[in-house]
């Protein structure tokens, strides 16, 4: 082929690296209120362009715009604000505790609080969640006790998971929150199975699953889309595109080539892309998808466009791979500030009230923290009974584990 030049291998690379200034000017940000809101009965084909848009409700001044404004009352929004603040305060404390050696590991969701909290608000209390490790806000928005969460993080005597899981791998049947897996992606296809079971039983409960931008490359994302599409499963599938997967920017997951929402198009699944830092927009889009599911209209794919403001985990140091000022330059701001500004602009909130709420959630976290530490931390104080190490592999302890427990002298 003398008429063809040598091929070249393309390796994607983020626009900027440490030492350089961040720049998000290439990101297309439609105006708040500019994206149409179709009926939930519209076909996936007819709304395929929404996968390339960005649904936004709050404008820069904090006023809600357009058809996607969910018209939530101030009380609900204040509850949402509180849940986000509580999530943030909880995250802050747990990272501090990890630094103090009270546990091995922690993961924050800073900057992404609206995703889990607004989404939890958009579902019914008994809908079922299949989350990743960065949706602690789902539990908090469902008023799940942070004491319980802390006990899990400390693997202490109060840990219902008996010290078996790494920190943040929560589970709460009562809160409709499936046991988090350390293996990326696996939960999102399971969500489809749960949703199909609910449909099979003629139930009215729907399911929702979450996955990160990075993890969309795993097979389970493909399974979830395929299976949800084929069986019209009543499920809401969420891609939390926080721009990073540990050190890899979203281009390594394919985000430079198309939006993650647009993955839905090829499976005939309606797909929406939403400003993930806009509480109102996240709520509205999720409610729309939940309504579709609950009306037997099948699955929806949602891409939540947001930014991982903190390190990937306490084991990570993002200054090694991204510009220090990225979060400052991030154009979608902070979800807490934006909701606060909206409430203030609407005359439903004040700086004083906000300070009081901050103090209140801090106190709540502090109190829970003290209680939790009385129940033990990873390396100090009371812990789960070591005999339980041999339980729950199967429902009954099999002979080999009974013997092994004895070998350990227990």
């Amino acid at each position: 082929m003398p008429d063809h030049p040598a091929l070249q291998l393309h390796i994607p690379e983020p626009k900027h690296r440490p030492g350089e200034a961040a720049d998000f000017s290439h990101i297309r940000l439609p105006k708040a209120g500019s994206v149409e809101r179709p009926l939930i009965t519209t076909s996936a084909y007819d709304i395929r362009e929404l996968a390339f848009q960005l649904i936004r409700v709050l404008d820069d001044e904090g006023s809600p715009k357009g058809a996607w404004d969910p018209g939530l009352d101030a009380e609900t929004l204040k509850r949402g604000l509180r849940a986000m603040l509580l999530t943030r305060a909880y995250d802050e404390r747990m990272v501090r505790m990890q630094r103090q050696g009270k546990t091995s590991f922690y993961m924050k969701c800073t900057g992404e609080e609206a995703v889990a909290v607004a989404q939890a608000f958009a579902f019914e209390r008994n809908d079922m969640f299949f989350p990743t490790y960065r949706q602690q806000g789902l539990l908090i928005a469902r008023d799940w006790p942070i004491l319980d969460m802390m006990c899990q993080v400390y693997s202490n005597s109060g840990d219902r998971l008996k010290g078996r899981q790494m920190p943040v791998m929560y589970s709460s049947r009562e809160a409709g929150f499936f046991s988090i897996s350390g293996n990326l992606g696996t939960q999102i296809s399971q969500a489809v199975g749960w949703a199909m079971a609910s449909a099979y039983k003629g139930d009215t409960r729907i399911a929702s699953g979450w996955i990160g931008d990075g993890a969309t490359a795993e097979p389970d994302f493909h399974y979830a889309l395929t299976l949800a599409s084929v069986y019209h499963a009543p499920v809401v599938l969420n891609v939390v595109n926080n721009q990073w997967a540990i050190s890899c920017y979203q281009g390594i997951a394919g985000g430079d080539e198309s939006t993650f929402a647009s993955r839905g198009i090829g499976y005939g699944i309606p797909a929406l892309r939403v400003d993930g830092n806009d509480f109102l927009a996240v709520f509205a889009v999720t409610r729309w998808a939940a309504e579709r599911a609950r009306s037997n209209l099948g699955p929806t794919l949602i891409e939540l466009f947001t930014y991982r403001a903190a390190a990937h985990s306490t084991s990570d140091d993002p200054s090694r791979y991204r510009p220090a000022d990225e979060y400052e330059k991030w154009p979608l701001g902070d979800p807490v500030d934006r909701l606060k500004r909206h409430l203030v602009a609407a005359g439903a909130w004040s700086n004083d009230e906000h300070q009081a709420m901050l103090a209140e959630v801090d106190a709540q976290v502090r109190d829970a923290g003290k209680q939790a530490e009385e129940l033990g931390t990873l390396n100090h104080g009371p812990r789960p009974d070591v005999r339980t190490m041999f339980e729950d592999v199967l429902k009954e302890v099999p002979w080999n584990l009974a013997r092994q427990r004895k070998e350990l002298g227990l």
């Binding site: 079922m128 299949f130 840990d159 219902r160 998971l161 008996k162 078996r164 899981q165 791998m169 589970s171 709460s172 049947r173 499936f178 046991s179 897996s181 350390g182 293996n183 696996t186 296809s189 399971q190 969500a191 489809v192 199975g193 749960w194 949703a195 199909m196 079971a197 609910s198 099979y200 039983k201 399911a207 097979p219 389970d220 493909h222 399974y223 979830a224 395929t226 299976l227 084929v230 339980e391 729950d392 592999v393 199967l394 429902k395 099999p398 002979w399 080999n400």
Partner: protein
């Protein structure tokens, strides 16, 4: 009592399960309208409807993921993997999810699923329709691994597996579907009808998980085996005239350690027979356990008769398959004086 071959017995198990428990669903590739490439689910969709017995996309990992999610809801799915050779895409969902959910959640969630998969060679399926990957599951704590050798056990074990609250991987030796194949491909095939274990009750019954069955009592040597090799071992005992005690393990994990130890402590000799490749096969675990339990009674080295450590070759199926001749030689060696 009706006589059933293994396909019919498995079909009957699912029929009974579907009938008794509305939470039982059956799905997999080609299992719905068509009734499965081996006809094991034949007629079930027609009888119970598309919502209970249905086809899935060709995505073994997705099939198991669905089952896990349904199990979390409270159903008892029975999923089919068309050939055990195709279970690998589902390995992550089985190992990292199904097997771990009870433990990792402090028993808040569990996974009452059954994954059926036809295994083993003898049908000229070549390397991708003949594998016996059971050892890849016996190493995974949290999974129960079963392989029946006859229609009666197959039905009773499939019912137990489905009613069990933990995940079960259920291997069906496909060469046994239509008859108790004894390893002589050149002889006319015997149908199940002539075999006592083809008498299968129509209704509900269970074979307990974790219990082996002594299919031939004997004094000279213990044979630990399962699946197709049960019949091959019986043939080898008959052909050599060696008074072997042949134990059909039926459940590989949790294995019936008492039955194994009692027999080897009695005979003092042991041959392990499986179709899977040798290195790190389940026979290794059996051998290790036997010498741990019975060291001071052993009069000869434990021998393993297995598939070779190669893929299953299409042209040399019968040179690969550990037939009665090879098992017989091992029986002779192990029972000869001095054992070596």
């Amino acid at each position: 009592m009706p006589s059933m071959n293994m396909v019919q017995a498995l079909n009957s198990a699912m029929d009974v399960l579907l009938e008794r428990d509305p939470n039982v669903l059956i799905f997999g590739e080609d299992v719905g309208y068509f009734g499965g490439v081996f006809r094991v689910t034949d007629g079930l969709q027609k009888k119970y409807g598309r919502q209970r017995v249905f086809d899935t996309p060709i995505a073994e990992g997705g099939i198991v993921a669905l089952a896990v999610g349904m199990g979390a809801y409270g159903l008892r799915p029975v999923a089919e993997i068309q050939f055990a050779d195709y279970i690998y895409p589902a390995y992550d969902q089985l190992v990292s999810e199904a097997a771990r959910i009870r433990y990792r959640s402090g028993a808040e969630w569990w996974c009452p699923i059954t994954v059926r998969a036809p295994c083993g060679g003898g049908i000229f399926g070549g390397q991708t329709h003949s594998q016996s990957p059971e050892a890849l599951f016996t190493h995974v704590c949290g999974l129960t691994t079963i392989m029946p050798s006859n229609p009666y056990d197959a039905k009773g074990l499939l019912i137990s597996a489905t009613e069990d609250d933990d995940p079960v991987v259920f291997f069906e030796p496909k060469r046994l579907y239509n008859g108790p194949f004894d390893g002589h491909p050149d002889r006319p095939a015997t149908p199940w009808a002539k075999h006592p274990m083809s008498e299968v009750p129509e209704g509900h019954y269970r074979i307990p998980i974790g219990k082996a069955s002594i299919v031939r009592p004997g004094a000279a040597v213990t044979v630990l085996t399962y699946g197709t090799m049960v019949h091959v071992s019986l043939a080898a005992a008959a052909e050599t005239g060696i008074d072997a005690e042949i134990i059909d393990l039926r459940t590989l994990v949790p294995v019936d350690i008492e039955a194994i130890a009692a027999s080897v402590n009695k005979t003092g000799r042991c041959v392990i027979v499986h179709e899977a490749t040798r290195t790190s096969g389940y026979g290794a675990e059996l051998s290790a356990m036997v010498q741990e339990e019975c060291f001071f009674k052993l009069e000869a080295p434990i021998e393993r008769v297995t598939g070779w450590d190669t893929p299953y070759p299409h042209a040399f199926e019968w040179q690969y398959f550990p037939g009665p001749a090879r098992v017989g030689e091992a029986l002779r060696r192990v029972t000869s004086d001095g054992g070596a």
